[in-house]
């Protein structure tokens, strides 16, 4: 199977450990990644879209058009890229007038949006194309005893008629793929809450994140598991700011799903770049090590 990965700016330039983990897992699963060096930023669905929706759509269409030239689907690893590219692909396929408008611009650079490929978040590739059986067979060192509190993030699931990933009210996709790594998904009250990153009022953002931390703290999970680099930003680096604000140390490690999967598939802690995380309690690292009898960080 061949797909085009759309790494996006956050993963490639801020959290390359996530890119590494996805590459590791895809290699194990026999998925060939065809990199496209002409991609730009998706562009970002918060600020760029707030500036001008039509330019946002045009740049997104250009990225999709590049993948169309390969006749391959795009897989996204960041929920922001997923939001932009899925939404653009959906609207441009559905609305011929809009497509014409955008294509008029793309013509100036010799490109065209044709609507011939799909854009999908990589977790749907695991579930729908690779399949749970094959995924299970790729596990070499199950992450036994690791309790993971899930944070879905907003843009994997919504708008649901565009994303079509899972039920946005009672999703289960992340529970299922976490279970496969041997870890235990832990329920907590605020697992669907937003990380608050887009709010301009800083206070508001910290309060939202604090609610998530309180909820996970009460669940007694070992870590927070997620699939979005922006949420990661809010919860790893951002945890320091939240802790200062509410005057409480959560000391809650945050882990990107593919880091867990790669570890369970045999990668070392070093290979998945755990040491780059800001919040990294010793007990957690030891637990990961014990689970997989992995090499030291």
């Amino acid at each position: 199977m061949k797909v085009i990965p759309f790494w996006g700016c956050m993963i490639a330039l801020k959290y390359p450990q996530m890119e590494k983990a996805v590459r590791y897992s895809m290699d194990k699963l026999g998925v060939e990644l065809v990199d496209e060096p002409r991609f730009s930023c998706c562009p970002d669905p918060i600020y760029f879209k707030a500036a001008d929706k039509l330019t946002w759509l045009t740049l997104a269409a250009r990225n999709i058009a590049l993948a169309e030239e390969h006749e391959l689907d795009i897989i996204t690893m960041c929920s922001g890229c997923t939001s932009t590219l899925c939404e653009a692909n959906y609207h441009l396929k559905k609305d011929p007038e809009l497509r014409e408008k955008v294509n008029k611009s793309l013509k100036a650079i010799g490109r065209e949006f044709r609507g011939t490929i799909n854009v999908r978040h990589v977790v749907t590739l695991l579930r729908d194309d690779i399949g749970m059986e094959k995924l299970k067979h790729s596990i070499e060192r199950p992450l036994k005893d690791v309790k993971v509190a899930i944070h879905y993030g907003c843009h994997l699931l919504k708008p649901s008629e565009i994303m079509r990933v899972d039920d946005p009210v009672i999703p289960k996709i992340l529970q299922e793929i976490i279970e496969i790594t041997g870890a235990t998904p832990i329920n907590h009250k605020e697992y669907l809450l937003c990380c608050g990153k887009a709010c301009q009022d800083h206070e508001l953002m910290l309060n939202m994140s604090a609610d998530v931390f309180e909820s996970i703290h009460a669940s007694k999970a070992d870590c927070l598991g997620l699939i979005c680099p922006t949420c990661f930003d809010s919860f790893d680096l951002g945890q320091i700011r939240v802790a200062r604000k509410v005057n409480k140390e959560y000391n809650l490690p945050v882990i990107y799903y593919f880091q867990m999967l790669a570890l369970a598939q045999g990668a070392s802690l070093e290979e998945v770049g755990i040491k780059y995380h800001k919040i990294l309690p010793r007990e957690f690292v030891m637990k990961l090590q014990r689970s997989g009898e992995l090499a030291a960080v």
Binding site: D44, D52, T55, I109, C199
Partner: protein
């Protein structure tokens, strides 16, 4: 004689609504029947009482331009979570109306600076995150291919077509 202003009566500003209608996703506000289904699951409303997607759409229906896209408008506190989009029975998509309003505030230059800073960065580098030495170093440590984003030539042409940005 009664001073007209002292009655404090506001009238609907249809011209503002027409401008909103023309932005992608802005037209949805016309379908709102003020049921309030969008409010309960709005995370910003939960933390900030005066932020309310229903009343934002109501103000759009009245055409209250200054309140919606004046400086420091509350619309910039939307988290972009799409809960209101999921709940609305009328396909208003309050979030898309809010983003359309943000597009209009760019024309008035009432947007927070971060918005155009991001656009500028994309224009200049193709990316929203700057390529730092630390990132290069980490990519090398992780044995990842060196980072490429070869698109500025084409982006430049596309930006030229949209004068506003």
């Amino acid at each position: 004689m009664k001073d007209k202003k002292s009655t404090n009566m506001k009238t609907i500003d249809y011209s503002f609504r027409e401008r909103l209608n023309k932005v992608l996703g802005g037209f949805g506000h016309n379908y709102c029947y003020q049921c309030g289904a969008c409010v309960a699951d709005c995370p910003t409303h939960r933390h900030l009482d005066e932020f309310n997607p229903r009343t934002i759409i109501l103000k759009a229906l009245f055409g209250f331009e200054d309140e919606l896209i004046g400086s420091d408008s509350i619309i910039w506190n939307c988290t972009n979570c799409y809960n209101c989009h999921e709940r609305c029975p009328q396909e208003v998509s309050p979030i898309e109306v809010i983003i359309a309003l943000k597009n209009l505030s760019i024309e008035k230059e009432t947007n927070p600076p971060v918005v155009l800073n991001i656009v500028d960065r994309v224009k200049k580098t193709g990316s929203t995150v700057s390529l730092t030495e630390l990132a290069q170093k980490r990519r090398a440590e992780l044995d990842l291919p060196s980072y490429k984003m070869d698109c500025i030539d084409e982006l430049e042409k596309l930006f030229k077509l949209r004068e506003m940005l």
